[in-house]
């Protein structure tokens, strides 16, 4: 009992303290990253200027995978320990992850036209990323599909855990099967194949995306916590009403 009552409040306090900092760091990093990406970093030797889509696309794609992993881990923890906060973390992550996925798909598609000569092809990387989007949507849908919120949360968490198989498939699809999408440039065994002038802004953007995610996560979890409190008050209202009527 004590644990359940105390943890959320402690969390709220932590969130209230940390979120302004996170907001600030995110703003600085993203501004710097965008500036470097647009004005400082050099054009590519083959793609010339269109390479700048990379600074949006690649971190978004990374985040789409990271958020899913985080969500599945939180969901798994919630199932095992029946911890409401873990449920909230998973629930709060889902829309953010879906947004990153959508962004990766959209910017990738935009980039594909000049680079490949096609907006969209059905190769393993692109398709599996699209499936990831549907997993996110499935999570959100399942989570809200029940009148009883705990039932929805647990069903959705189960789905998240099952869906984790998609993450390695997406990551290694470019190595396992021949795809039109390029193999990894940064996260590879033999070191990055990106020139440092381009890698630095890319990494700054990536860190900026991550702090942005953490910031949104905190805000959304605070909202969900408040919703849960309102719900509890409602239930109490129903109950006391009953007792008054009795």
């Amino acid at each position: 009992m004590l644990k359940i009552v105390l943890q959320p409040d402690a969390f709220s306090r932590l969130g209230a303290k940390a979120s302004p900092w996170l907001a600030g760091i995110t703003a600085v990093l993203l501004t710097a990253g965008v500036f470097l990406a647009l004005f400082v970093s050099p054009p590519d030797f083959r793609q010339s200027e269109s390479v700048r889509i990379m600074y949006v696309h690649v971190p978004a794609a990374w985040m789409s995978l990271f958020c899913y992993t985080f969500m599945a881990a939180a969901g798994g923890a919630a199932l095992v320990w029946r911890a409401p906060l873990a449920h909230m973390a998973a629930e709060a992550t889902a829309p953010v992850g879906a947004a990153f996925t959508l962004l990766a798909l959209a910017t990738g598609s935009l980039w594909g036209k000049p680079m490949w000569g096609a907006w969209w092809v059905w190769d393993a990387r692109l398709t599996s990323e699209l499936i990831l989007l549907f997993l996110y949507l499935g999570f959100i849908a399942l989570n809200t599909a029940f009148d009883d919120p705990t039932r929805g949360a647990r069903a959705a968490a189960t789905l998240a855990v099952v869906g984790i198989v998609m993450v390695p498939i997406i990551k290694y699809s470019v190595d396992w099967w021949s795809t039109l999408h390029q193999p990894a440039s940064v996260l590879r065994m033999s070191g990055p194949t990106i020139a440092a002038e381009m890698l630095v802004p890319l990494l700054i953007m990536a860190v900026g995306y991550t702090t942005f995610f953490l910031y949104v996560l905190l805000i959304r979890m605070a909202t969900l916590l408040n919703n849960a409190r309102i719900r509890a008050l409602r239930q109490r209202q129903v109950r006391t009403g009953w007792e008054a009527a009795r």
């Binding site: 096609a118 059905w122 190769d123």
Partner: protein, 221 residues
């Protein structure tokens, strides 16, 4: 009229509060379409050729799935009895419910169809034709589907045959819908097809609410 407007408002509000309805229909639409590149191989030319057909089939299935439970919730919680006992004509009630349902599921389908056209490599005119035909066609599908949904509520009373009759009724809409898109892509005049689609829609508008209302009365007996 005021009563019917109240039904539309309520159903829209329910859809809104329950969320996700529209999103899920669109998701199914996209997913069902996605199956075809896997099924027939990711061959851009071939996909472009079957794109309109696939888009239409997917739309049909999505609308079928969404319609299946059109009256179900109201049937199960007793609302349908009260609706049938209200002074409004049951045909009007059916129309109001179908209308609200089309707004929350049919319309998003149409909005999403250009995306399908993109995924399936269908060109710009083809895409326009797809949107137009879906606009006319999904209303027909909703109306026919409402009859099916009403029949399956009372299916215990031997509605097997009748519900089998509903499925084939979808076919003409499909043929003319796909035909229109194909004609546009191939550069043929497509007005005859569009007119046929519209004619079917008008026919459905005249007949279906009546048939669905009859089926509902039977289900409530």
């Amino acid at each position: 009229m005021r009563g019917l407007a109240a039904i539309v408002r309520r159903d829209l509000r329910l859809a809104l509060r329950q969320g996700m309805d529209s999103v899920m229909v669109v998701a199914f639409f996209v997913l069902a379409t996605m199956l075809f590149p896997f099924g027939v191989g990711p061959d851009a030319n071939l996909l472009a050729r079957i794109g309109a057909g696939v888009g239409w089939v997917a739309a049909l299935l999505a609308s079928l799935l969404a319609l299946e439970r059109l009256f179900q919730a109201d049937y199960e919680d007793g609302s349908l009895e009260l609706l049938a006992l209200s002074p409004l004509p049951l045909e009007g009630i059916v129309l109001a419910k179908v209308g609200a349902h089309w707004l929350t599921t049919g319309l998003p389908l149409i909005v999403a169809s250009p995306l399908i056209a993109l995924l399936m490599n269908v060109g710009a005119e083809g895409c326009g034709a797809l949107v137009l035909t879906l606009l006319i066609g999904t209303t027909t599908l909703s109306l026919i589907g409402a009859v099916g949904a009403a029949l399956t509520l009372g299916a215990r009373r031997g509605g097997v045959l009748l519900s089998l009759l509903v499925l084939p009724l979808y076919i003409p809409t499909l043929i003319f819908g796909v035909g229109t898109v194909a004609a546009v892509i191939d550069g043929f005049p497509a007005w005859a097809n569009v007119m046929m689609l519209a004619a079917i829609a008008v026919g459905a508008l005249a007949l279906c609410p009546w048939a669905a209302a009859a089926a509902l009365r039977q289900a409530l007996e």
